[in-house]
Symmetry: C2
Subunit: 419 residues, 2 copies
C-alpha cells in the first residue's frame, strides 16, 4: 500500500467530517464523531479491580473467538477434534486456550503427583521418572508448529469446508519448555540393538507411534510447559512428547512410557490410520515430516472484507516440517500473476511463519491463493499436482494450495481452480 | 550437571527398586512403583470431549498458579495491582491470563464497535480511526517485556516481600501484533514544531504520559493483539500503546487519543509519580529506559528445593530496555564466586531472556544471586550501589541484584547481603 493511497483513504477520517467513508463504513459525519468527542461510559466509572481476575480471560466482546468442531466429521456422540480459529489470530503464537485438540480417548485428567514416565525395552537400566525428576534435567525452550496429518483432509475431494478454521485449523504454534529426550534415553542407556522408540500415552486410548531413534536423539523434547505455563489438559498435561516438524499424533500426549525396540511396531495409528492409499493399492507409510504449506487467514470465508474497496491487508500463515519459510507468494487472480508477500515476526526452524500482503482492492472479484517456499527449496504444490501422484483415496497429508473466491461484496468462499 | 552426576542420581529410579531415593523424595520401592505398573483411573475411562472447552483453561491441579496482589500495598478498597507468578513459569512468553496488571481507574470494558483513536494537536490533519481503520495499515510482530517502574520498589528499604512474584512480578513478556505508530503519525502529518506526543487512555483515569517524538517514530506500536489473540481487557482491549524498553505506565492502555505538542506536558504520572527523589532534593525525571535486571525464579521463597541434595536446576529471567542479554552470571555463595549461566530460548531486542544453571546441591545453605549483562556492556548493580547514588527516598527503578537465602531444608527467603 503506497503512502498516497493510505493518505487519500484516511483523509476521509478527518475530524472536519469531510469524509463520508471511514474504513468503508458509511458514517456521514457532518458533525465530529460523538464516539470520540463525547464521554463514553468506560471513562466515567471506576472499572473492575484486579482481584476479580486471578487468571485472566478474553473480553466478553471476543466470545466468538473459540475452537469449533464440525458435527458431521466424527461419528462419536462426542466429537474428538476441534479447530483453531486461525482467522481471528495474528502473529505466530497460538494462545493456549485456542490450540486445536484431537484425541482418541477423551481428555485425560492426570494427577501430577501420581504422574510417572517409564523408559523400558532395549535399555541398560529401565527407569521410572516422577514429574519432579524430569524437572531436575537441563531444559530447553523452542517454538514449534504441531499439525495433524489430517489437516485439510476433507479438501482432497474438492472445496468442502467454508472457513480456514475448518480447512486448516488443525495446527497450532507454541513455545515449549522441556527436557531433550536424548538426555533421558542416555540416562537409561540404549542397547546397541535399539533402533526405534514407542512412546505411549496414559489416556484411555493409550496412543502409540513408532519413531526412529535418530529423531528421538535429535530434537525431540519431553515437554511440561507451553507458552510459559503448564501444559493444558487437552494438550497432554502434565507431560507430552514434542516431535518437531513431524505429524501431530506422534507428539504423544499424557506421555507415560517410552519403549526402545529394534524395529517399528506397526500399531493401529501407523497402519490402518495416518497412511495414504495410492491408486496402485500400495500405501504411503511413515510419512512423518509435514510438507511446506500455507493458507490465507484474512480475507477468508469467516473473515470477509467489510470495509469495501481501498487499502486492504491480506495475511496468512506458512510452515514446513523441514525448516523455515523464507518466502511466500500470493496471487489475487487465481495464479495468473503472483507477488511476494512480506514476512513479519520471528522465523524459527519448524515453526509457524506470518506473512502479509497490502493492496488496494478495486472492488472486483478476487481469487486468493498463497504458495510457500521452504528453506530446502521445496515449493508448495497445487491440489491437482498432489492428486496426480497420490490419486483420490487420500485423507492425510494434503498440503495443496488453498483458494478463496471473494465477490464484489467482499464475501469469501472456499473454491477450487483447476491447475 | 555432569553425565555422571545425573546417572548416579537417577540410577535411584531404576524399576529394580534398588533406589530408595527418587528425585529426592523418599519412596522405599521394594516392589515396582504402582503408579506406573497399575492401571490409573485416567487410563480406564473416556475423558471429557472437546465440546466442553471452546476456550481452554489450565488443569484444576494448577489452580494455585494465579496473579496475586499484596493487600497492604494499595490503600484502595480495591487493589490496583497484581503480580505475575514468575516462579511457576518458564521460557520467555508470559501467558495472557497471567500477565500482571496495574491500573489507575480499574479495568475499562470497551465496546470495540464504539472504539476510536484520535490524533490531534500539531498535525496537518487531525484524524479519528476506528478499530477497523487501524487494521488496514501494515502490521508488525514483536516480543517485548513490559516492566512497571515500581517493580521491586518495596525492596529499596531492604528485603521485604517473600517471593519473586511480589519482588519482581510486575513484568510480563508478550508477542504483540500492531501498527507502527509512525505510520499513523505520518497519516496525520506532524507539523515542524511537533516534538512530543501525549498518549491518553480511555479509562476513568485518562492516563497520560509525555513521549519524545523520536521514540514515537522509532519502534512504538499501536497494538491490538497479544500472543496471537485480542488484547485482554486488563491489558488495554481493544488497543494499547507499546513503548519497547520503556517503563510500563507509558504503554498507555485503552488508547483513545494521541496529541502532538512542542514540549512535554509535565502531567501527574511524570512529576509527583514515577520520578526518583534524590538526597539533594532534586528528582530524577524522564528516566524512561528500564535498566538491565535479572532475578532467580527457582529456587525462590515460593519455590523451595523439595528434592534434597543432588542435581538441581536453577533458573531465572533477565531483561534490558536497551537491547538484549548476552550473559547472566549466578552465584551460590552471595557473590564470593560467580559462574556463567546457560541462556536458552530466543534472544530478542528489549525482550525477556531465560537463563539456567544446573548444579549438584551438597545440602548446605546457599546465597543465590543473578547478575545480568546487557548488549551495551552495562552490568546489573547491587542495591547498595544504587542507594549510594540515589539515596533512600527512591521507590521506582530498582534494578539491583536480588538475593535468596536457601537453608539446609531447601527453604528460601528474601535477604540482603551488604556489598
Amino acid at each position: 500500500m503506497t503512502d498516497t493511497s493510505r493518505r487519500s483513504f484516511l483523509r476521509g477520517a478527518a475530524i472536519s467530517g469531510a469524509g463520508a467513508l471511514v474504513g468503508g463504513r458509511v458514517a456521514a459525519q457532518a458533525a465530529p464523531d460523538p464516539a470520540i468527542t463525547e464521554l463514553q461510559p468506560w471513562q466515567q466509572y471506576l472499572g473492575e479491580g484486579v482481584d476479580a481476575r486471578p487468571y485472566g480471560m478474553p473480553s466478553e466482546h471476543e466470545a466468538h473467538v473459540v475452537r469449533r468442531d464440525v458435527p458431521w466429521l466424527t461419528a462419536d456422540p462426542v466429537s474428538s477434534v476441534n479447530f483453531t480459529p486461525l482467522h481471528e489470530l495474528d502473529g505466530i503464537i497460538t494462545p493456549n486456550g485456542l490450540c486445536f485438540e484431537r484425541h482418541h480417548g477423551g481428555i485425560a485428567e492426570i494427577d501430577p503427583g501420581a504422574y510417572r514416565l517409564m523408559i523400558n525395552g532395549l535399555v541398560d537400566t529401565p527407569l521410572v521418572f516422577t514429574l519432579d525428576d524430569l524437572k531436575r534435567f537441563p531444559r530447553e525452550n523452542h517454538a514449534y508448529f504441531l499439525e495433524c496429518a489430517a489437516n485439510s483432509g476433507m479438501e482432497w475431494r474438492g472445496a468442502q469446508l467454508n472457513g480456514c478454521q475448518f480447512t486448516h485449523g488443525m495446527i497450532h504454534n507454541v513455545m515449549y519448555t522441556g527436557v531433550p529426550l536424548r538426555l533421558l534415553l542416555e540416562e537409561a542407556g540404549i542397547k546397541t540393538a535399539g533402533k526405534w522408540i514407542l512412546p505411549e500415552g496414559a489416556d484411555a486410548s493409550a496412543m502409540t507411534r513408532s519413531i526412529p531413534l535418530e529423531k528421538a536423539l535429535d530434537d525431540c523434547l519431553v515437554a511440561f510447559k507451553m507458552n510459559g505455563e503448564a501444559l493444558r489438559p487437552e494438550q497432554g498435561y502434565p507431560v507430552r512428547l514434542v516431535v518437531p516438524g513431524w505429524e501431530g499424533n506422534m507428539w504423544v500426549k499424557w506421555l507415560r512410557r517410552i519403549e526402545i525396540g529394534d524395529q517399528p511396531w506397526h500399531h493401529r495409528e501407523e497402519t490402518s490410520k495416518y497412511t495414504d492409499l495410492l491408486p496402485d493399492g500400495q500405501a504411503r507409510r511413515f510419512t512423518w515430516e509435514m510438507d511446506a504449506k500455507s493458507v490465507i487467514t484474512n480475507p477468508s470465508p469467516q473473515a470477509p472484507i467489510t470495509h469495501g474497496p481501498g487499502p486492504t491487508v491480506l495475511t496468512g500463515i506458512a510452515w514446513s516440517g523441514r525448516g523455515t519459510i523464507p518466502r511466500v507468494d500470493v496471487t489475487l487472480d487465481g495464479g495468473a500473476t503472483w507477488a511476494r508477500a512480506r514476512m513479519s515476526g520471528p522465523s524459527f526452524d519448524k515453526s509457524m511463519h506470518r506473512f502479509y500482503y497490502e493492496f488496494d482492492w478495486d472492488g472486483r472479484p478476487l481469487l486468493l491463493q498463497s504458495r510457500a517456499h521452504d528453506s530446502t527449496g521445496y515449493v508448495q504444490p497445487t491440489k491437482d499436482m498432489l492428486r496426480e501422484v497420490r490419486g483420490e483415496n487420500s485423507i492425510y497429508h494434503n498440503n495443496g494450495i488453498q483458494t478463496w473466491a471473494v465477490n464484489e461484496q467482499g464475501v469469501a468462499e472456499n473454491v477450487e481452480v483447476s491447475s
